[in-house]
Every structure is written in structure tokens, then in C-alpha cells.
């Protein structure tokens, strides 16, 4: 029998570990999804297929409210953070280095660098002061807090897109009598669009998934879906949690795949 050709890329055991890794990453999630359809109340013993936990989650007022709240916050946070991120990206991309650049980048990227628990505590302290001073306890705190930590996630894909754009296109438009605003609307924006959409979707997912900051900032009765779930973990766990998780997973995975496709869009 002929000996197999020497494969320079092979390293003993690596493929095995890699496959174990992928199994480890997906097995728990797959089990979680599977048991959301369990007819029984166990999350380990399979008793047949059923939609009952989706129905029970759907009928649960707390879940409904938390879902709506999560979506409202995610919508506003992603809209707000993406809008300001577009402006910030326009200001910081394709220019020579400027005075204060390091400080600006540090502030924009701060939510990525500072541990979430630290930001959460800081917001708890700061917003407690404002809550006392103003008496206002509404959703605005959560929206603004989410907007802040979504900014870098919206900023990065937009900035990447801008950096890949040809500066001469804008010059060509200006040369052809387009005012700065027309240049932005007719040339910059249409090309930036995939980046903006990608940034907005990323911001939406990040906001939707947040637990720690929401847990510390929320006032009484302002549970989002993740903080509701965190609260439920202390009690007896039924597949209802799996059903909620599966729904959230569905949104995230869809958005991430769409994001990946969008960031690959070339001119």
C-alpha cells in the first residue's frame, strides 16, 4: 500500500481538538433549542414535541412586557448610536491626525475597554443622583445607557466602510457642482449605506443582549428580556426559559449573518 503523502499542514491531534471545540460551542445551544420544544417540564428528559412553552411564554404578561421593552430600548439605542456614530466616523476618518485624536478615540472605545460591571456601577451611582434630583424614572436612562455602549459597535463598521471609500469620488462630485450636503447625500451616503446598516444591526443585537448594565440601571418594573431571565434562573427552571432564549437566539443569529453579508458588500 502506498504511503500517504506528507501533509505539511497537519499537526497531530489539532483537528480532533478543533472538532471538539465546535461541538462544545454548539452542543449546549442545540440542546437548549431542542428542549424548548419539550412537551414535559424537564430540561433534560425528552417527553415529545410541543409548542406549549412558546405558548406559555407568549401568554406570560411579564415576558410580553419585557419583550416590548427590550425592543423599544434596542430600537432607540441602535437608532441613536448609529446616527451619532455616522457623524463621528465622518469626523475621524480620512483626515490627518488631529489634536485630541487619542482622547476622542479613547472616549469612543471606552465601552469596549472598561469592564461592564464597572460601567454598570458608575451608571447606577450617576443615574441615582439624577433620579433623586429630577424624580424622573422612565426608560430614557436605559436608552441613553444602551446608546453609549452601542456607539463603538456602530462606529467600527461604519468607519471601516468609510476608510475603504475612494476620496476622489467626493472630490469628483464637488468638481461637478455638488455642494457639501449634496456630496454627502448623493455620493457618500449611498456608498456608506451597507456600513450604516451593519452598524445599526450590531448595535441592535448588542442592546438586545445586554444584562449587566440594564440590571444596574433599570428602575423597578423595568425588566428587559435578559434581566427577566436572570431573575427567573433563581427559581425552578422550565423550558419556558428555553423558548424565550430560542426566540432571542433566532434574532441574534439572523442579524449576525446579515451583518456578515453586509460587511462583505463591495462596490
Amino acid at each position: 500500500m502506498a504511503k500517504r503523502a506528507f501533509d505539511i499542514r497537519r499537526q497531530t491531534g489539532f483537528t480532533g481538538i478543533a472538532i471538539a471545540c465546535f461541538l462544545m460551542l454548539y452542543m449546549p445551544i442545540i440542546l437548549l433549542v431542542v428542549y424548548s420544544f419539550n412537551a414535559g417540564t424537564s430540561i433534560a428528559i425528552w417527553e415529545g414535541f410541543s409548542w406549549r412553552w412558546y405558548a406559555s411564554a407568549w401568554e406570560n404578561d411579564l415576558v410580553q412586557e419585557a419583550t416590548i421593552r427590550s425592543l423599544i430600548i434596542a430600537f432607540w439605542a441602535s437608532a441613536l448610536s448609529t446616527s451619532v456614530a455616522v457623524l463621528a466616523a465622518l469626523a475621524t476618518t480620512r483626515t490627518r491626525s488631529f489634536k485630541g485624536q487619542t482622547a476622542v478615540f479613547a472616549v469612543i472605545h471606552q465601552p469596549l475597554m472598561v469592564p461592564e460591571i464597572v460601567t454598570a456601577v458608575a451608571l447606577l451611582i450617576f443615574f441615582a443622583m439624577i433620579k433623586v434630583a429630577t424624580g424622573y424614572n422612565g426608560l430614557a436612562y436605559l436608552i441613553i445607557a444602551h446608546s453609549a455602549f452601542c456607539i463603538p459597535f456602530a462606529y467600527l463598521p461604519i468607519r471601516a466602510r468609510l476608510q475603504g471609500m475612494d476620496l476622489t469620488l467626493e472630490q469628483a462630485a464637488a468638481d461637478l457642482y455638488a455642494t457639501p450636503f449634496q456630496v454627502f447625500r448623493r455620493v457618500t451616503l449611498p456608498q456608506l449605506w451597507p456600513g450604516i446598516l451593519a452598524g445599526a444591526m450590531l448595535a441592535f443585537v448588542i442592546s438586545l443582549d445586554d444584562v449587566v448594565i440594564t440590571e444596574f440601571v433599570k428602575s423597578a418594573g423595568q425588566d428587559t428580556l435578559p434581566t427577566y431571565m436572570l431573575g427567573q434562573l433563581r427559581r425552578v427552571v422550565t423550558p419556558e426559559i428555553n423558548a424565550i432564549s430560542t426566540a432571542l437566539l433566532g434574532i441574534s443569529v439572523t442579524m449576525v449573518i446579515a451583518y456578515t453579508l453586509l460587511s462583505k458588500v463591495r462596490n
Binding site: R9, L25, A85, P115, I117, V118, T119, V121, I125, N242
Partner: protein, 303 residues
């Protein structure tokens, strides 16, 4: 004669700051500003029912690592805090190590796939990363709890009679963190690995190196920046982890994040919580600065 280009430059600067203003205002209001206030709070006196009394005090900072004995008023190390700090560092290091052991071969595996398949494999790594951290932690929880999948199967197979207590241990916290942060290890290592020129590997074999020697003497040194970056990217969030130890540790196995939360809940010692937060931030910043230096070096090498 006036410099005409300077007028234009001034206008450009004004425009730039106007464009930056909205983002900076939001971040100042809900990120940077509160951090400064936290620093101020760490020098105040705790209020009786949470909050603070506006009296200057260094007690909070004093209490981060030290404590006064209730009986004889002598000064000693705060064993409770030190053991939590030590656990945080230990579990983060073990998590980093475990991520490296699993992540490095995985990154290598992906980097050696045909070019057109690599993006797909990477997508498989990225998807879990962008899905809800709580859900992923919860998925692991369901797997290992006493009435969870693993124990149920083992009991059904008759291998064990009683469920193995895996949850609420240091092991379960590490498992949870490895599961959650593994993509952060694979991403940078893969980025280095993808640029690896496999002709160098051929040259290694040509010069009589064995597989292991090629790995150790050729591949590892070349992807070292990615390994260091990945290690720091895993270590930093592990150190500040809050959700995973809360869910997987069940309140027995506190890490720094949980200790901080405690000061704002039952502890009612906001200044101490603030001081602990700033301490955690300082440790993280040191690690991130190290990362920036490594990343900077890598850019120079490949630039």
C-alpha cells in the same frame, strides 16, 4: 500675507468637532462622566441605607485590601477580599489557559482549510460570540446542573447513582467562561495564522524539523502576537465577569464583579464598591496597555 490654507484648516477643525459632539455628549453622559463620579464616590462615606454621605474619607480605599480587627483594632489583610481577588485572578488565568489549549488548534484548523471555506468556519466561531451571553451561560448551566443533561444521561446509563455536583463550583465557573470567551481567543490567533506563510513550514521540514519542532520553532514564534492578543482578550473580560460567576457560581464562589455588586446591594457600602470598581478598572487597563503594545509591535512587523 495671510495663509489661505489656514482659514480652510480652521473651518475643517470646527466642522470636525461639531460632527463629534453628539457622540461625545452621549458618551460623556453615560460612560466617561459616571466613571469620574465613581472615582469621587470612592472617597466618600457610606450612607446608612446605601448611597453616600458627602464626607471625605479614605476608608473605602483602605478597605479594598485591608481590614481592622473588630476586637483588638489591629490592622490586617482583608482575607475575604484577598481570597476573592485571588479567585478572580486564578479562575481568569485558568480560563485563559483552557481557551488557549482549545482555541489554538481550532484557529490552526481553520487557517489550514481551503481559502473559500475559511470564512464559513470563522462564521461558526463568530455566531456564538454575538449571541446573548446570558443564553449561552444558561445553555451550559442546563448541561451540567444536577438534574441537567449530563447527569440525567449518566444516571440513565447506570454509570452513577447520584448526580455529580458540577454546578456552583470553580470548575463550573471556568467552564462557563471558557464557553463564553473562547471565540475571543480564536479570532486573533486565526488573524495571525492566516497570514502565516506555509512556505516557511516547508522550509522547516526541509531542514529536518519534526512536526512538533516545526510547531514550536516556526509556527508558534510567528503567531505569538495573536496568541498574546487572544490571551489578553480572554483574560480581561474574565477578570471583570459578573453574569457567569453569578449564574454558575451560585453566590458561593464570588469573583470581583460579584463583590462589587454586593456593596451596592446587601453591603450598602457604595464607596467601597466604587473603590473596588476603580481597582478592577486599573488592573484591566494595565492588561489592555500591554495588549496595545503587543498589537502595535505586530503592526510594525507586518506593515
Amino acid at each position: 500675507m495671510t495663509d489661505l490654507s489656514q482659514n480652510a484648516a480652521r473651518r475643517a477643525i470646527k466642522t470636525r468637532w461639531m460632527l463629534l459632539a453628539p457622540a461625545l455628549i452621549i458618551l460623556a453622559f453615560a460612560a466617561s462622566g459616571p466613571l469620574l463620579i465613581t472615582l469621587v464616590y470612592s472617597f466618600l462615606t457610606p450612607g446608612d441605607y446605601g448611597g453616600v454621605v458627602w464626607d471625605f474619607s479614605t476608608d473605602a480605599w483602605f478597605n479594598v485590601f485591608l481590614q481592622r480587627d473588630i476586637f483588638d483594632d489591629t490592622l490586617g489583610w482583608s482575607d475575604a477580599h484577598l481570597s476573592i481577588f485571588w479567585r478572580s485572578v486564578k479562575l481568569s488565568l485558568l480560563t485563559t489557559l483552557a481557551c488557549l489549549v482549545f482555541g489554538f488548534p481550532t484557529a490552526y484548523f481553520i487557517a489550514t482549510r481551503p481559502k473559500q471555506h475559511r470564512d464559513l468556519w470563522m462564521l461558526l466561531i463568530i455566531i456564538p460570540f454575538w449571541t446573548n451571553l446570558l443564553i449561552r451561560t444558561f445553555a451550559i448551566l442546563e448541561l451540567i446542573r444536577n438534574e441537567g443533561t449530563i447527569n440525567t444521561i449518566l444516571i440513565a446509563l447506570g454509570i452513577i447513582d447520584e448526580p455529580i455536583q458540577m454546578l456552583f463550583t470553580e470548575f463550573s465557573i471556568i467552564l462557563g467562561m471558557v464557553y463564553v470567551y473562547l471565540p475571543l481567543m480564536v479570532l486573533p490567533i486565526y488573524a495571525s495564522m492566516e497570514r502565516l506563510d506555509f512556505r516557511l513550514v516547508e522550509a522547516g521540514y526541509d531542514l529536518y524539523a519534526t512536526r512538533f519542532q516545526v510547531l514550536r520553532r516556526v509556527i508558534l514564534p510567528l503567531v505569538k502576537p495573536g496568541v498574546i492578543a487572544g490571551s489578553i482578550l480572554v483574560f480581561v473580560p474574565s477578570l471583570g465577569a459578573y453574569v457567569t460567576p453569578r449564574v454558575m457560581g451560585g453566590g458561593n464562589q464570588l469573583m470581583i464583579g460579584n463583590l462589587i455588586e454586593l456593596q451596592f446591594g446587601q453591603g450598602r457600602n457604595w464607596p467601597l464598591g466604587a473603590a473596588l470598581s476603580i481597582t478592577l478598572l486599573a488592573i484591566v487597563m494595565v492588561a489592555l496597555l500591554a495588549y496595545v503594545r503587543v498589537a502595535g509591535k505586530e503592526e510594525v512587523q507586518h506593515g
